[in-house]
Symmetry: C2
């Protein structure tokens, strides 16, 4: 390997130093760069394309289920946030404050939105009059800022991040709860059908709910280092917000009634999860459904075969393009095939098509999986179906690998020591019977910095044991302990 | 008309009070609401859907011409903006300043981006190494803030607005100039093929260019009140930015060379232009290509015909939906057809399908144009083609109306008094021979607050006369005077 290639390639090991390796993959695969201000990143085209494809799929699910997009101001008056803080114990986000407009000091500080409940709720109150206006659903795709002082980790920990936030109002608790679970289902579908990541679905324990929420549901994704990522949350907010912001309506009996509301959000942390989970020491691996480039066609020629090979490659590219497959025909003269292979592997292209004089003559194409470098030779006449099949195979490989990891990563414990030991030695999720008292989480937190990331979704599900793993009191539910990002 | 209906409908007249009328259309058609902070609006689903459709079409044009999307931070350090201000005479935007993060005062103030040249250029400098990296093109869809203290006019004058900003670097001046004109061409296409608005293309006079630009090209749109809207601008920036931010590359002769750059932007002002141009005293009229709802199907039934009519309407809705036509089947029991007609007219739905027992029996559908209320009876079996044809007809009507207005709105003048008189009496564009000295604009500006909004695109185009309309010196070009938004 030349010096230049070494500089281009990944030098850290996922096995040995996952943190440095992740940072290297993100930068060298051209997904993101660090911005000059600590906590901010620049999302480069390859990284942003992942977000665009995720957005396309999730937005289509939203729109198929009666969600409309809107756009609310990026700045929120301090008094609006204060109102939310008064209502919601525990709601006190660190925000970026705008104090000056042009040369002048503002009469009231404005926060760059950390989340938009406090500005959306008053408008919902204005727009909703009758039971006929319900359910009311609005979503926005935007960036938010949380001024938390932590080390920057692209897509996982950044002061500014991209997300969507959905906000809905309903006539009944049942309607709002159904909504909450529908969005959780859609988040699950995004992870499992598009990002190649199986998830666990659950509820946050009461002491870790979104401030003001009755129920916070979550999808949790297990990372290779045994930590859990909160992949998206969907909240049933009860009537807390509706009461505080006067989201009322005239019901069928002509009586004034208070709505039930929900909110739900998924951020670009989903990108962090898939990069961390799927990539390897050669670089990034993009799940085919959201891959910016799905197939890299690398023609391999000598001087005398150049025209024939390139013409053959172009006709194949045409067919694939017409079928809607995202491809790059890498016809650069100044690079040899080996260099191109490495570069497309680094950049995460899930499938490579190698086309040399032999292939051109035989009417064949060699397709190589990014995941395991296995290759199959396919018929040129069936190239579209073959590429689709092999992309599916790569997807299944990614998914299966993650599913096996998840399966092996859920282990049961009966007492505090065992919880601690498993977390410490193997990581992953440790399930155990729990009384529901947050104090029983503390010894585990103190010993290995793991939290209860979720409990089963069904409130009435049977705990694993009769008594709490820590205090021995009657168990109420099963706790899932894990370290988190 | 009942009181309730009056409250719902437009009460102002476009002819008599266009400003109040516009504000009423925007709000009552559910396009936008005023936010609590002066200068900010809330873009409601119907307004945002217009933006989404515009975005879909323009983004597809960009992507078909090698543009990649990316995302840069919403906050920009003051020193970065200062650097741009030092380089660019006249660049001194009023911005919103973030001075505190959480409880702490920041060491350096951060501006909410007013435009992103100063944060994008340094990254371009980093990413571009060789002539092989050129042309380099990046675009972002985002919101920006300009803290200009003006009266709020939704989509026209708001402190925060949505836009796209494209930034490119090229090896040659010719390449960069070609890029500048390609983007101007795409903006023209958006207005003329999707928004129903013919435009004038031109260059800004030198004294009104974007700071630092060699050439600022513009599409100008004539409004019903005779004012011109700057509908989008595309700048050839020469080497000013590249020199200041070190956007250099190694050329084919292995020499270091300075790039030529461009930038181009189109904002939601385009929505303001189309709302103002097309709507009438019944409310909004959406151009079909970007209409949130293209067809409102209103079934008209008596109790005994309800099932038959509704079943027939549903089968038609199915066919249209499969063909990708955006529709609403308005089957509300609690509203009569007249109310529904008014509501869909107010909301700008370009085509209404009336379906009563007669239509159901005869296998027909009555289609009514939003523009002139003309109706055509079409065959149910050819409903998809018929709807597409009538949507095209509505589009053509909107376009033709605007084109006639534009044609009548360009008038020639030979001296200062005549320029002033035409602007004052008829508005629109007044063309006249101009020496190029900004001082000659002043008397017109002082008298009727009109500016030179553009000069012809071709630098060598013949002026209308030999001598300047104002000073009598040799004319260099033709000036287009107009009042502006």
């Amino acid at each position: 390997m030349s010096e230049r290639e070494q500089e281009l390639g990944i030098t850290e090991s996922k096995e040995e130093n996952i943190g440095e390796w992740y940072a290297e993959v993100v930068q060298k695969a051209g997904l993101a760069d660090y911005a000059p201000m600590s906590g901010f990143i620049v999302t480069r085209p390859r990284g942003y394309a992942l977000w665009e494809h995720l957005q396309t799929h999730l937005d289509a699910m939203f729109k198929a289920t009666e969600v409309e997009n809107a756009y609310f101001p990026v700045l929120i008056p301090e008094s609006y946030l204060e109102r939310e803080k008064e209502i919601l114990e525990g709601f006190d986000p660190e925000v970026a404050w705008v104090t000056h407009g042009g040369e002048e000091e503002l009469e009231e500080r404005l926060a760059v939105r950390p989340t938009s409940e406090s500005i959306i709720a008053p408008f919902m109150a204005k727009w909703i009059r009758s039971h006929r206006d319900l359910p009311h659903r609005v979503n926005q795709w935007c960036s938010v800022i949380r001024w938390e002082a932590t080390e920057t980790k692209p897509f996982f920990r950044t002061k500014e991040f991209l997300w969507q936030e959905g906000h809905t109002a309903h006539a009944s608790q049942a309607g709002a709860m159904e909504e909450t679970l529908l969005r959780l289902e859609q988040y699950t579908k995004i992870y499992e059908d598009y990002l190649g990541l199986p998830v666990l679905r659950g509820r946050k324990p009461d002491h870790d709910k979104f401030p003001g929420a009755e129920t916070t549901t979550t999808v949790e994704v297990l990372m290779p280092d045994g930590r859990s990522v909160q992949g998206g949350t969907s909240h049933y907010l009860g009537q807390t917000f509706a009461e505080a912001f006067d989201i009322t309506y005239v019901d069928e009996a002509e009586e004034e009634a208070v709505a039930h509301t929900t909110s739900w959000g998924l951020s670009w942390r989903a990108l962090g999860a898939l990069i961390l989970a799927h990539s390897d020491d050669q670089g990034f691996i993009a799940p085919p459904p959201i891959a910016p480039t799905q197939v890299a066609i690398v023609p391999i020629w000598q001087e005398d075969t150049r025209d024939a090979v390139l013409g053959y490659a172009e006709s194949i590219a045409d067919d694939l393009e017409k079928a809607g497959i995202r491809l790059e025909l890498d016809d650069r003269d100044e690079r040899n095939p080996g260099f191109k292979f490495n570069e497309h592997e680094l950049n995460g292209v899930p499938l490579r098509a190698e086309i040399g004089p032999n292939e051109a003559e035989a009417g064949e194409v060699t397709l190589v999986h990014r995941t395991d470098r296995e290759s199959v030779v396919v018929d040129r006449d069936e190239i579209v179906e073959a590429v689709q099949t092999e992309l599916d195979t790569v997807y299944d490989e990614l998914y299966e690998r993650a599913a096996k990891h998840l399966e092996a990563g859920i282990n049961e414990a009966t007492d505090t020591d065992e919880v601690i030991n498993i977390i410490d030695e193997r990581g992953g999720y440790v399930t155990t019977a729990w009384c529901g008292d947050p104090d029983c989480e503390t010894p585990v937190k103190d010993a290995v910095a793991a939290d209860i990331v979720m409990v089963p979704l069904e409130a009435d599900s049977e705990p694993l044991d009769d008594t709490c793993f820590n205090c021995g009191a009657a168990a109420q539910t099963t706790a899932y302990f894990a370290k988190t990002y």
